[in-house]
Symmetry: D3
Subunit: 156 residues, 6 copies
């Protein structure tokens, strides 16, 4: 059932007025497929002042705070923690981005974690697109979700 769609078939924001505040957490992940030259440039640059990944981390953190402005039916929430972490798979020329978001609130923070990952990867793309136009953002998914009435969930 689409919880965002009411009995008339109209899209409206789900009512969470009577839910309790509980500690919510979500972990999401995604990746970007680059090429050998770019991976090398990112690693080299990192040894100096390391720009691509810190810039992308900040973009992801700021985007998480804007989730309710981007996703039409998302509730605005006061996030208590946003963390973004990159790892480089230099065998496959892939950068993996993982986000963790926490909030004490009435609804889950999956969309915030997914938005953080998406915008962090878009920023990696932006900063690497002068090398190649064949970059691919891929496998953006939820890994784990805790808090709220439903059972905790982890990707199997």
């Amino acid at each position: 059932m689409f919880t965002h769609i009411d009995a008339n078939g109209d899209a409206n924001m789900v009512d969470v007025s009577k839910k309790n505040d509980t500690l919510r957490e979500a972990i999401a992940q995604g990746s970007i497929i680059l090429n050998e030259e770019i991976i090398k440039a990112i690693i080299d640059n990192r040894n100096k002042k390391g720009d691509v990944l810190p810039t992308s981390r900040l973009a992801g953190i700021q985007a998480a705070k804007k989730t309710s402005d981007l996703i039409p039916l998302a509730h605005n929430l006061n996030l208590t923690k946003i963390e973004i972490e990159f790892s480089i798979d230099n065998k496959n020329n892939i950068i993996i981005c993982k986000s963790l978001v926490r909030c004490l609130g009435k609804t889950g923070v999956e969309m915030e974690a997914l938005t953080a990952v998406s915008v962090a990867l878009l920023t990696v793309y932006d900063m690497c697109k002068s090398f190649s136009k064949n970059l691919i953002i891929s496998e953006i998914k939820l890994l784990k979700k805790t808090g709220g009435k439903s059972d905790n969930w982890s990707k199997s």
Copy 2:
């Protein structure tokens, strides 16, 4: 070479002051892997008031206009056209989202097209996540780019 990183290794916005205004266009694409039940629900609902895809289309269009607010080193541009189109691959339970963005400006609109696709797919995710948490956003990439000094480019 990272065009966003200057000689000191610092991230700064590229100078486009002396570039001419030309008609820029970019086409991007991405997809979301759902499941049979969700695809069926989207198609059924579409026959009534069709909410998931129109809502996601609007979210993508609005996100394209916010690209320079999301991507730290992106220039703000006055887009002249944003179009988003979905197609349903109901054999594989995938929705494909394609965006086209145009602008008369000094710099390309690839990031705007990619941002439109990303946020449109995040919105599909948001509206379908009550069915399943195993959704995956995938294969976000540029398909075509025209305008500007560099040659026109299409994904081969």
Copy 3:
């Protein structure tokens, strides 16, 4: 007495620090006067993919979330429910828009409900203005307000 204006006559944000969180609700309404041709086009289009009203509903929902960014002295609040509903008076060629907003907070949500209605109607205007420039947005008003220290209120 203007509660937004302090003893010096300066506009400042009212202090709600010591108010309790209670469930607040506000219902607002407004209308737009179109013409026969437009009303018919909206109804016809609705039978297909129904664009004008769903688009305007989303615009109103998103605007409610931005109220504190639009109204200078409004407090930012985490809304728990936003609902927008249209009804068509095709005898008088009028579309009526009603909004309901809820929040568990320290101050009322009247402005959020009124902002939702205003922006939803502006969006109807935008999508119909190619038919006629003689459209009129009218009768935006509060219908009901509950929660908080003051008595519940309904328009008589």
Copy 4:
């Protein structure tokens, strides 16, 4: 014909890529029905530091700049002039708000002028609602439009 709705019935942004930049102007108007006590308070306060109307004027000006963020299919434009003017009809306890917006661009600024008036009046509402909940925002309409390919237009 709905220019925002394409051949498939989907809402998309109109393509203005090939339109010329011309000087566009729009004048809009709206009003808010208050009561005698409030009108008197506004006039009295105005003689001191005059807060309600200046605050509302600024809110309207800032809202005009955010039109493309509020109206989903509006183009973002660089406005070159925004002016808001209030007049008080103290026989009928009404405040009338008029806006004028100018832009050198590819599309008209009607929505910007109407948004300016709407948000200015919502701000008057916000600042006067402690007096009465029976305020009504009314008669928001376009008065004049010049520039662009279509003929100049004035409300008859």
Copy 5:
């Protein structure tokens, strides 16, 4: 120790998930050095409709609400009170701006108070820059901070 920088040296948002909500308050101050002619014009204009300072006060109040959008690692908070006050030192041709911000939350509001002062002073600058380009914004600092786990603090 940089609390915004984690064990890996990466900038991430501090986790406040387990902190209690307490009443937080911060008072900040800053000033702008103008010249005799401008100070006189502000005072004279104030006697009529008083524009520079009311406009700047509103800009500061609105900026406080946007702090988490401006400062990358700031948490978004629902402020319960924002107050801005100007005093004119017409011996030294200086305008002093003081802000007070309150919030019931898990983290302090120093950045909100400092942002309010900074943007209020930038707005004074904007409105006075036609007189002279030699204006200087100066001495932006925290005066007082209460609430939270750390001791209350006042500038000595």
Copy 6:
């Protein structure tokens, strides 16, 4: 004369509709007074992954793009270049921030350059405030301005 204040004494946006597009540039500067311990920590951290200054640089760049959202009567402009540079005066424990902004437009970019510096310094403050609450942001001023009808100007 206050150019933002019209003949009635009301604050309105200056009309730049008939001005030509010319290349505008502004350079601004400001500083933050820290202490020896913080300066040392910033320098040390910089040798690793260098977080405080890159984070603040990005915050300043993004703020420049939001100037018209922060300063009520500023025009929205499409900036073509934003650059932020820090220098450390470790004798006096001061960090100096300089910004350069360019735009091809109808009005100057002084406010954009000053906003970039202000928000970059506020971000330095935010990231260093765990060390001390006695930080002072100071001497924010314009250094140079070229383009437009008025003569070029440099701080003497």
